[in-house]
């Protein structure tokens, strides 16, 4: 009996998502006295087995699929599902990334497992018999707790679980699985991949995030937010309303269905603070809300609140930071 983690690497490295899921799997497996198996794609993670062991895996299974492309789940879903079928783990865990969210339901379907997505916590019940999964519904206004089935696939919300604090083991057992290609040409093909290489800081990793919402009122004022973020060494994002209005690219959306961020400082400018938006920033250390409306829901989650028209406040704030830096 085992807990299996599918580890997706980020630019060839064991990134935060994989560390978190392995950390979470380790603590569940320890309580259930089980092993943690970690599945990676060859090429993607074949060389990183040591790090995966340190992150919590007892065994690493390197799946070799000739035609696999990590960002196209279709190209290796069958191989992965087959590998899982051979093992039949009690719990199969994916990070809640676009790839993980695509694979999880389909792997579950192929194994006739249960599927619960977007888990915020995984807990072994006190009697040690049940695994309890908590996930938000209705945009986070309500939380639902599920008892995992015998045979359960889950995805885990980024930043919800913690990586292990100490390396687990450096030399996990490594197995190689060669997937037998099944008839016909692959039906999907990646043509071109764009990673965000914008100068400045990556949203998910930024220590400071400045975000703008519908109240910003147009694309131009985002230059102001860029300037503020620049001074604080941070990145700019926004609410879905700002994205839908065309003021920001969709890759900059923060929230339930955008990026999940966990900076030290999150500055929400002219964002009302809907539950869907706050779902993406809940783990920020300090949240500052700048809103013209003292009743805006953002002030229910913000640590520091400024009731002002951002058009007057942000320029002054920029100026004060500049003059503070000058001396």
């Amino acid at each position: 009996m085992a807990v299996l983690v599918f580890a997706e690497l980020e630019n060839g490295k064991v990134g935060r998502n994989a560390l978190e899921v392995l950390g979470g799997a380790r603590s569940v497996a320890d309580k259930l006295k089980m092993e943690v198996l970690c599945c990676v794609l060859d090429g993607d993670g074949g060389q990183r087995t040591g790090e995966l062991g340190q992150a919590g895996a007892d065994r690493v299974i390197v799946v070799k699929v000739a035609t696999a492309n990590p960002s196209d789940p279709e190209s290796y879903l069958a191989a992965l599902a087959e590998t899982c079928t051979g093992i039949r783990p009690v719990l199969i865990m994916f990070a809640g990334t676009p790839v993980g969210r695509q694979l999880a339901p389909r792997v579950a379907h192929r194994l006739s497992y249960g599927i619960v997505t977007d888990c915020l916590s995984i807990r072994v019940a006190d009697d040690g018999r049940e695994i309890l999964l908590t996930r938000p519904i209705y945009g986070g206004k309500v939380h639902a707790v599920f008892a995992a089935r015998e045979g359960q696939v889950i995805t885990v919300r980024p930043r919800a679980l913690r990586p292990l604090e100490h390396p687990y083991r450096a030399d996990p057992q490594v197995d190689y699985v060669e997937a037998t290609p099944r008839g016909g040409q692959p039906r999907t093909r990646v043509v071109e991949v764009h990673k965000e290489t914008e100068s400045g800081v990556k949203l998910e990793e930024a220590k400071v995030v400045v975000a703008g919402g519908r109240g910003i009122g147009g694309p131009e004022p985002f230059a102001m937010l860029e300037e503020l973020a620049g001074l604080l060494g941070g990145a700019v994002g926004g609410s879905r309303a700002a994205v839908d209005a065309g003021w920001l690219p969709a890759t900059r959306q923060i929230g339930l269905t955008g990026k999940i961020v966990s900076p030290d400082l999150y500055v929400a400018v002219a964002i009302s603070g809907s539950s869907q938006h706050m779902a993406g920033v809940a783990n920020s250390r300090v949240i500052v809300g700048i809103n013209i409306d003292p009743e805006a829901p953002i002030f229910h989650s913000a640590h520091l609140g400024v009731v002002e028209d951002y058009r007057e406040f942000v320029p002054v704030l920029i100026e004060k930071i500049k003059s503070a830096k000058a001396c």
Binding site: S272, D293, P294, E295
Partner: protein
Amino acid sequence: MAEPKPVSPETRNFLLSVGTGTLDWCMQCGFCTAVCPWRLAGGRLGTYFNIRRIQRLAQLGVEGFDDEEALFACTTCALCEAHCPRRVEIVANIRALRGILVEAGFVPQHLDPIISSLYANGNPWSGPRARRLDWARDLRLPRFERDTEYLLFVCCTSCYDPRSQRIARSVVRLLDSAGVSFGVIGTEESCCGDVADKVGAGEAFRQLALSNIRLFQSKGVRRIVTTSPHCFVAFRDRYPALGGEFEVFHYTEVLLERVRHGALGFARRLSERVAYHDPCYLGRHGGVFDAPRELLGVVLTAPLVELAWVREVSHCCGSGGGRLWAETPKGQRLGELRVSDALARGARVLTTACPYCVMTLEADCFGLGQQENLQILELGELLASCCI
């Protein structure tokens, strides 16, 4: 030249059937467009939004009358109606056309959060229901009881907006000094629904109105005094059709009656040059032109400054009909016209009797950089400052 578009009798009949019955009376004289204040604002809407044209296209069922930008530009100020020789119910037509879109699930983006909040919180400001009475935190506010004469209904804006809360507090102070028997219900109240009604969110309006009607009836309300002309008009003109018959007054009417009976006096007089802006909903929609002026007459030592467009032909501040939540570029706003006119006439104070007008005129006065030269005061605030 634009492509010719086909005339559709079918569309025409459909429009008539959903409440644009008076469209057919229109003879296309164009008075409405000529007097519409957007003409004077000088911006894009001044040319893009043409009410006569919208009605013409709708009359014929020709595509184009449902252009979102134009259809949601109207402030429902009813100035056009006041001039229409055929008495076309222009505002009702606009409301019905908007209603077709909104009820079918097509809500303009800027109005989406407003309508949603009306459902979620019973007010357009996303304010928690439980905090509806926060404006009166430190006042000893009488509760409405069966033997109370008036229910005081405070506009959502004055419940939640800190600037606007001063209006509600002033009105309470005045009613108190005038010895009026009044009380509030508070957190169970919902928005009067005027904004929902005017943007075409008929179902939201119906739900809000019915919940208020039930509440008022259960508490034994017979007379209502409102702080806002929008609530005043909604209760008086729109609720009866839903079974809510109440005697409705704007607070200026109630106060004036008390002044006349000598029950309310003012200790202080103002010598500043004060101008009065007729809110469209108090004046044209509500028919109350004199009460505010007479009240001002009692406290002003100098004659009231009358603006260029007043009383029945007063110009809108730009915030009715859902426009309070729409963005209009600076330099093209209706409120700027009112502020400039007041300044040109040497007024130092521009007073009005509507929370929307106050919010808009104040913002536009700031926008023009004239805040040192012209103070925007709600009439209740001005009067309260005179009753030491």
